[in-house]
Symmetry: C2
Subunit: 231 residues, 2 copies
């Protein structure tokens, strides 16, 4: 298992120096992992309200002051323009660029939002003795747009996105209680079992991330996902 037990500060240094550019699953043991969304101040109120109204997919950990790329509340000294492996740059809602250093795109009117990520509680799942196929394989989780609508806020509206992990039937209760302890990182699952109940047509074809492998007796378990703002 590609587990990296170092302090997040050291991991961020590696990322800043370009040594680490992949998926962050399995990193930052015992620390919260976050998704990053950056928006101009003009849209920040609506997005902040969207997060407040949809805390399961968008659990807010930190919002920077306008123009500041330092999340002083949760990671003083970090630089959100360089300390994340990869950035997707959207222009008018369309993916325009993918970079490992967002400094050239930073502006004085930008606000950074850090949303708790389910990678946070994977440690708790592993410690509870639950096998996680994607961690063992060094892959990403599987993610889908669902038929569950988020509560809209101004310009922001859309479906909830979920991440899915195959969990052995005998471990389902443990998966719920272990993840429920992390409300700041999506908390307990939003759904267990039949993907059709969430409007997911093909469990083998995720909208984002990697298709997961099911072992005999595995059940799909769905958590609200921080990719929701992109959907």
């Amino acid at each position: 298992m590609p587990i990296d037990p170092r302090h997040p500060r050291e991991i961020r240094q590696d990322i800043r120096r370009g040594k680490l550019t992949g998926i962050t699953a399995g990193l930052g043991q015992n620390f919260v992992q976050a998704n990053l969304a950056v928006l101009p101040r003009d849209s920040a109120y609506d997005f902040l309200l969207f997060c407040q109204r949809n805390p399961r997919p968008c659990p807010l950990l930190e919002v920077t002051d306008v123009g500041s790329a330092e999340p002083v509340g949760v990671a003083p000294g970090a630089d959100l323009r360089t300390d994340i492996p990869k950035y997707r740059v959207y222009k008018d809602g369309v993916l325009a660029d993918e970079v490992t250093d967002a400094t050239p795109y930073w502006r004085g009117d930008l606000v950074a939002f850090l949303l708790g990520c389910s990678f946070t509680f994977e440690w708790a799942l592993l410690e509870a003795g639950i096998r996680l196929w994607h961690v063992e394989q060094g892959k990403n989780v599987a993610m889908w747009r669902t038929s569950i609508a988020c509560r809209a806020a101004g310009a922001f509206h859309g479906p909830m996105v979920v991440s899915m992990r195959p969990i052995a039937a005998g471990e389902l209760a443990k998966a719920v209680t272990a993840s429920a302890r992390f409300p700041g990182a999506h908390g307990a699952p939003v759904h267990i079992g039949d993907p059709a109940a969430l409007g997911i047509k093909d469990i083998r074809r995720p909208d984002w991330g990697d298709a997961q492998e099911f072992r005999p007796g595995d059940v799909p378990v769905f958590w609200a996902c921080g990719v929701t703002p992109q959907a």
Copy 2:
């Protein structure tokens, strides 16, 4: 004990008709009680961010759409201009009026914020067998400005306000665990014991609310308080 077990909808009707104008402690059993703050849209982003950064004193339950006085998320059908016993109207930071109907002051650019209130978990404390002097007496809790600074957000900054209830020493652990179950209503105490540690000079003279009576063996227990935005 002045306990009113009716559904909050009925209690709000009474308030709207002017039948109920006092303190709401002891009302709305098994429902969350909220503090109300109303601000113009121009200040709403900073205040929303202030709440996000200070969730213990300012646990956000609901933020209305601009111009709407209906908290559709937590109490559809309620009218925040009439369904609260009393309103304090501030102009340029100074108390300008106190009314039982805020309709004349409502404007199209206003946003209403509902913050969880510690009255919510008093039921849980009572059910755990903890005596609450102010509920027995039909009085308010005691509140103070503390020496703990909130994390600032734009124009909003200031000290955390706490509410205090005298709790029997033997019931302290129960008071912590019972209130900790309600993170949306300030959660567990921020301090137990010596008021001086919070910068409180005289436990008999609160900054807001009513002075509390201590029985022999009672310890002051302090919770973060939704009056914080007024401090």
